[in-house]
């Protein structure tokens, strides 16, 4: 396949950045999207140009490190697919492909397609855990968990923290990520004691990190590679209201 790539190049935070065109003549449909970029980078290196920086690691769709906006869509055209699991057979010979980084206020560009997603860690630090110090646990069978709850908690826990939801959201909101964690822990008995403080603190951390508010646009779930549903945000909202009401009662 012959392709024209238009890639966002930005040399560090201070640089303004611009789209640059590259031609590739020997793309195999069996390549993954990242392998196609590897081929480009090999060529750029030999031509004395700097290769395109992009984040990636496991290349199995689970670490959440890869992510770029491809033709305007986070992670590209295939539904429920990370960039590393997107293959070139989904493109046509002669295509022009636009490749850009996640664009969101809370995710500053580091270089080219690499962005800083550490704001997600700060949301988890605010309460995205169960306070269970090592060695203090009761026997695992001491608290049964209904299978339906465990399964639903797993569905939410499958979030890989890639940030596609933020990149797709017109407000740059990280609410789907936050809601996935709140849903995961909120559905399990182990997560109950901290349920109220968790949702209040995580939402506050979310806002502090510079993410925009959620207006139920729904773009986030459309691009989510793990299919985290919009209902998790509904659950977050209910928990948040309840917790806020309780808090003002106590005040």
């Amino acid at each position: 396949m012959k392709l024209t790539l238009r890639i966002w190049r930005q040399n560090g935070r201070a640089d303004k950045g611009r789209m640059v065109s590259y031609q590739l003549d020997d793309v195999s449909p069996d390549m993954s999207f990242l392998e196609m970029l590897d081929v480009l980078n090999e060529r750029l290196t030999l031509e004395g140009e700097e290769p395109v920086a992009f984040d990636h690691d496991c290349r199995e769709g689970i670490c959440g490190m890869c992510g770029m906006v491809i033709n305007g869509v986070a992670h590209g055209p295939e539904r429920a697919t990370t960039t590393c699991q997107l293959h070139m057979r989904h493109f046509k010979d002669g295509d022009t492909i636009d490749i850009e980084p996640w664009r969101a206020r809370a995710f500053p560009v580091v270089k080219d397609l690499v962005v800083d997603r550490s704001a997600f860690d700060s949301i988890i630090q605010a309460g995205g855990y169960v306070s269970a110090p090592t060695g203090s646990a009761p026997d695992a069978h001491a608290t049964p968990v209904p299978k339906a709850n465990a399964d639903a908690a797993f569905e939410a826990a499958a979030c890989i923290g890639c940030g596609a939801c933020v990149a797709a959201c017109p407000n740059g909101s990280g609410m789907l990520f936050t809601a996935a964690k709140i849903t995961h822990l909120g559905l399990l008995p182990q997560g109950q004691p901290e349920r109220s403080s968790r949702v209040v603190d995580m939402v506050a951390a979310h806002d502090d990190a510079g993410f925009g508010g959620c207006t139920n646009a729904g773009e986030c779930t459309t691009v989510c590679p793990k299919g985290i549903p919009l209902t998790t945000i509904g659950r977050l909202n209910r928990d948040f209201l309840k917790a806020s009401a309780k808090r003002s009662d106590n005040a």
């Binding site: 040399n11 560090g12 195999s28 069996d30 390549m31 993954s32 990242l34 392998e35 196609m36 590897d38 090999e42 290196t45 030999l46 920086a53 990636h56 690691d57 496991c58 290349r59 199995e60 769709g61 689970i62 670490c63 959440g64 490190m65 697919t81 699991q85 057979r89 580091v110 270089k111 690499v114 997603r117 550490s118 860690d121 988890i124 630090q125 605010a126 995205g128 855990y129 169960v130 306070s131 269970a132 090592t134 646990a137 026997d139 695992a140 069978h141 608290t143 049964p144 209904p146 299978k147 399964d151 908690a153 797993f154 826990a157 499958a158 890989i160 923290g161 995961h184 822990l185 182990q190």
Partner: protein
């Protein structure tokens, strides 16, 4: 062979307590010195790596009150490669009442490791496994449940009891997120300071003790030193020496290799687990290999054409012209023989020219029978997500045509030598998880790596490191101490050297070539002649690397080529040691198959008489003959027997 290495003193003390194996860990814990809680605040520990071992260790040490600084090369500790583990985690809970016990898990693991691991360590692992499940459930890890609300389990290779706990096909992800969340909780509490996108490039040793690391900030390029009372390496395995492997692209050997160069012994480097069910390579562009769960072999039948060079489509090959070779050679276990056996059998039929798919490097994993027997719906319910993943990568529909699979490098059982306390031969340096060599012997059973990572991080290291730290705090050091400054300038020189070569070959081209050499000569089957040839080729390629590599850009900011170049440079040195280790071990065991050591039926032949030891190597210089130190393995409880699956 004497020109390739020399033999030094045997390892005299592993610190393993003697006496009954069931009480060794309890007695060691009791004998370990404790640190007064008020003094813990004065003690600092550096933890490198945030996978199951490093993440759980940093979180637990933080909880205990030590001042912890945690490092990872990813943009978040949640992305460490433990996240990709699919299958499950073993624990001797006996929730099924099927006869499981700590002793049985201990027994299965020693046997599964082909009698090349330590009884003391493995028994402790089995003991602690029970607590791991409790801990993870308390953290909110959503393990699979039965309808009654209790935990579900399944069985895995190498065991006849159902002791594997799992969370769909993403157990590693869920366990890692549990550890990551515990870690972030400590970050918020101020006990752990987290450094992401930082790579350890050197170990700092002062007065014979590990006292810190040199790191590069991968965003700014800044080189800095960090000093502490102890250093913990939890930096994973080195399977990427083969270039193509199931490891994440960033997995590397640098942290452990740099420590090895500073005096830490490197044990059993030649033990590489090759996983039999991987999606085959599709072309030269291939950057990594993806595993298909081993569970597929419960229903899929493995076959190749009987005739060499038969290039008909699978459907056009009649039943009597197919060779279901695993069922033929191993009638008792059939398609479910262990990983090492299945991998080598696939290699053999491909070597005979009977492989399928591009390049003839593949065998069929066929579900036609299962679909006929159970119906498509039932197969979809059991394996649907795996079939989808296969189709996504290959573009072929496995409901219509058989899958193609081929073995791939998966997990490395070798690593830095550690004693019973998980301490390396440099005092103050502790090594945990896949980065050490200790618990899996020459072969790793399924669902045991996650168990070891969490056992080391949550339960073992936090107990043993206190015994060392009780003697601290050690002499206060600053960045301008001559040893510290020298180590730091070594790193700067090395980076400058890599950038200055300015040659005409890319880092990846060298890495690929090294990988091909390793796969060919130090992969599934090794021979004396092949390994000698590999050593020559590696040395030649290493010299060429330092003359012709091209690293674009500079050291001043994010430079992914520079990151890779430093790692590949270390892989070259490790590769040579792997070949020397494989050459000296003239027996076959677990992940190490020497063609010269096989039974008349072509099965692996162990040589307990001469090789029942851990091979721990001492570094003497790049390209110089390393020194072999042997740690004899003693089996008091599980007596070595030949494995047979016929």
């Amino acid at each position: 062979m004497t020109e390739l290495f020399s033999v030094g003193d045997p390892i005299a003390d592993t610190k393993a307590p003697d006496g009954p194996v069931e009480t060794r860990w309890d007695r060691r814990r009791f004998s370990a010195k404790l640190v007064n809680p008020a003094n813990k605040r004065k003690l600092s520990v550096i933890v490198v790596g945030t996978g199951l071992a490093g993440g759980s260790a940093a979180a637990t040490l933080g909880e205990l009150g030590y001042r912890v600084r945690s490092y990872c090369y990813q943009d978040s500790p949640r992305r460490a490669h433990s996240i990709a583990a699919q299958g499950g985690i073993n624990a001797a809970k006996n929730y099924r009442n099927d006869g499981d016990s700590v002793h049985r898990l201990f027994y299965d693991t020693v046997k599964g490791g082909d009698f090349r691991s330590r009884e003391s360590n493995v028994h402790r692992l089995a003991q602690v496994s029970v607590e791991i499940i409790d801990q993870c459930v308390a953290q909110g890890v959503p393990f699979a449940r039965e309808y009654g609300g209790l935990l579900d389990t399944r069985s895995f290779g190498g065991a006849q009891v159902s002791r594997t706990f799992y969370a769909r096909g993403q157990t590693g992800q869920q366990l890692l997120l549990g550890a990551y969340q515990a870690l972030e909780r400590q970050v918020a509490a101020g006990t752990v300071e987290m450094f992401t996108r930082h790579e350890m490039l050197e170990l700092i040793v002062v007065d014979g003790r590990a006292r810190g690391i040199v790191v590069r900030d991968m965003v700014t390029g800044e080189i800095s030193t960090d000093l502490a009372d102890a250093v913990v390496l939890a930096s994973g395995g080195y399977g990427n020496v083969f270039f193509l492997s199931t490891n994440a692209k960033g997995c590397n050997v640098t942290a452990t290799w740099r420590a090895h160069r500073k005096g830490a012994l490197f044990a059993n480097p030649c033990y590489t687990q090759i996983h039999p069910t991987c999606i085959p390579v599709s072309g030269d562009h291939q950057s990594k290999l993806t595993l298909m769960s081993e569970s597929l072999r419960n229903d899929g039948r493995v076959w190749v054409p009987k005739k060499a060079g038969d290039d008909r489509a699978a459907a056009d090959i009649p039943e009597d012209e197919r060779d279901y070779y695993l069922e033929r050679i191993y009638p008792a276990f059939g398609n479910l023989v262990p990983r090492d056996i299945a991998s080598r059998a696939a290699k053999n039929v491909c070597d005979e020219g009977r492989g399928v798919g591009p390049g003839g490097l593949g065998v069929y994993l066929d579900f036609a029978d299962a679909i006929g027997r159970l119906g498509r719906k039932a197969v979809e319910a059991k394996y649907g997500n795996l079939f989808e993943m296969y189709e996504r990568i290959t573009g072929e529909d496995p409901y219509e045509v058989p899958m193609r699979i081929y073995p791939a490098v998966h997990y490395t059982m070798g690593g830095l030598w550690v004693d019973y306390d998980l301490q390396a031969t440099i005092p103050g340096l502790f090594v945990i998880g896949e980065a050490n060599f200790s618990d899996h012997g020459a072969n790793r059973l399924g669902a045991s790596a996650l168990m070891q990572g969490l056992a080391d991080g949550y339960f073992v290291l936090p107990n043993t490191i206190g015994d060392y730290l009780a003697a601290g705090p050690f002499e206060k050091l600053t960045a301008d101490h001559p040893d510290v400054a020298r180590t730091r300038s070594d790193v700067e020189d090395r980076i400058a050297k890599l950038l200055a070569v300015d040659g005409d070959r890319t880092v990846d081209s060298f890495h690929r070539e090294l990988g091909r050499i390793m796969w060919e000569y130090c992969g599934m089957e090794r021979t004396d002649a092949g390994l000698r040839k590999a050593i020559d080729l590696i040395r030649g390629l290493r010299d060429e690397f330092w003359q012709r590599v091209r690293v674009p850009g500079d050291g001043e900011g994010l430079n992914q080529s520079l990151e890779r170049a430093g790692r590949v440079a270390d892989f070259f040195e490790l590769a040579e040691l792997m070949c020397i280790d494989a050459l000296h071990r003239t027996e076959s065991c677990g992940g190490h198959f020497r063609a010269e050591s096989q039974t008349p039926e072509g099965e692996a032949e162990r040589d307990d008489e001469n090789f029942s030891y851990v091979a721990a190597w001492e570094f003497t210089g790049t390209g110089d003959a390393p020194v072999l130190h042997k740690e004899d393995l003693i089996f008091e409880y599980v007596h070595p027997t030949q494995r047979s699956y016929k």
